[in-house]
Amino acid sequence: MSPRQPIVSLRNVGKTFESGTVALRGLDLEVCDGEFVSLLGPSGCGKSTALRIVAGLSVASEGAVDWLESGQSARIGFVFQEPTLMPWADVASNVRLPLKLAHADETQSRAAVAQTLARVGLADFADAYPRELSGGMKMRASIARALVTEPHLLLMDEPFAALDEITRFKLNNDLLTLWQELARTVIFVTHSVFESVYLSQRIVVMTPRPGRVFADLSIDAPYPRDDAFRTSAEYAGYCRTVSQALSQAMGEAAA
């Protein structure tokens, strides 16, 4: 992943909702191939809106979203804040859904689903129904579903916000492992300074209402990162810097 080209760029993107709320204004953001970028900001700062615009689930009122290759936008995986699984289908069917919608070959789909489930540690739960799973396992299933199409770009909208800290740390570690193995690009939306520093190469701090980029900070600590990194002085230092940027971003909005 050395030659860094922007896989997607947002240029001067603005979003005004029908209610008149201005969620985003003048948002410029480039995300490079293979990067792990976090969008960090308080709730209501438009970071989820930005992510939905990248996914094509929402249309920008102003500005443009440019892709490196045309048709690239088709290769997206999206993980929502809630697991968003179909309760009437077992885990394997939930994960197979994107392939089924694309009319993929049945046998190949099964193999892809089995492989992806094994990757996220759910190999033994293929036949389980969502209600039988814990919160963390549901989120793993949700991540597996996003990965099963082998997307170039993985978009994650505060996926671990509802989980307890122990589960969240475990999933953070597993997500980094997945990212390193698969070498995908990840845009990760969060309101947690600690989570964003732990995971990301780059943190984009956003201002609230209207959302735009306040600071673009790089976290240069090497991967693989583990629990030793989580307790290091380096990590604490980054967290301090990012926290300061975040409070400045919020202060600027208040002023």
């Binding site: 996914a55 309760p87 129904y129 209600r131």
Partner: protein, 260 residues
């Protein structure tokens, strides 16, 4: 005694008390059967008139079943149509409501003028039964998790895929609740129409037997027919509840056993 046994034993116990009281009152006061038949006599009538009543029961049940089937197809079909197009929904929904709120007893005589009798009875069964299916299915189809809809949009699902793989399964619990109500209502619709038709002369369903026995002061047969209608209603309810449970037991909260 456990909960389950109690739920069966207690109603049976109440029934036994009520029936013995009834029998005692009729015997004790010497009430003639054309005023109030004793439960024993009703039971005997059920056996002696068995062939006739059984035939009538089958006629009524068949109409009910047809009405229910048409209500299910019509209700679910309309709900799907409404979910596909707002314009169709806005155009037709008010009339579905009007059809529902107008008492069926008032519509039945009119239908009997314009339609041959079996068709009129069927139409009544359909009119009362289709609305709960329509209303419940519409609710189900329109309350699908919006994130799942977004997910389907992300993977460029077609309209058909969205309907078949997401909206219909998501609406299944509400749809089944609607069908459960429709089962009982189509029996009511069939009975109402038969009663209305009965006063016009011809018919062979259970409700017609009730009307006819009334004219002839054959009160024991009225009770026997009524008993059969009640049993038919209960049977329909349990059959549809069982169907609903079978369809939902793997995933829906309503069918999942919990400790608390």
């Amino acid at each position: 005694m456990n909960e389950r046994a109690l739920r069966i034993a207690l109603p049976v116990f109440v029934l036994a008390i009520v029936l013995s009281l009834w029998q005692a009152v009729v015997d004790g006061f010497g009430i003639p059967p054309y005023v109030l038949p004793a439960p024993g006599l009703v039971f005997l009538t059920l056996i002696s008139d068995g062939a006739l009543l059984w035939h009538s029961l089958l006629v009524t049940l068949f109409t009910t079943f047809e009405g229910f089937l048409l209500a299910a197809i019509g209700g679910i079909g309309l709900a799907i149509l409404f979910s596909q197009s707002r314009l169709i929904e806005y155009s037709l929904y008010p009339y579905a409501v009007i059809l529902q709120v107008t008492p069926i007893v008032a519509i039945a005589p009119l239908l009997l003028i314009y339609l041959p009798q079996p068709l009129a009875v069927l139409a009544c069964a359909w009119i009362v039964a289709f609305f709960p299916v329509l209303a419940n299915t519409t609710l189900g189809l329109s309350s699908v998790d919006h994130n799942l809809i977004a997910l389907f949009a992300l993977y460029k699902a077609s309209r058909w895929q969205l309907l078949w793989n997401l909206k219909l399964p998501a609406a299944l619990p509400q749809m089944l609740a609607g069908l459960r109500i429709a089962g009982g209502l189509s029996l009511i619709g069939a009975v109402v129409a038969e009663i209305a038709a009965g006063s016009a002369g011809a018919g062979s369903g259970l409700a017609y037997r009730i009307a006819e026995s009334g004219y002839r002061l054959n009160i024991p047969r009225m009770f026997a027919a009524l008993l059969l209608l009640a049993l038919a209603g209960v049977a329909i309810f349990f059959a549809l509840s069982a169907l609903s449970h079978l369809a939902l037991r793997r995933w829906h909260e309503s069918a999942v056993k919990r400790e608390l």
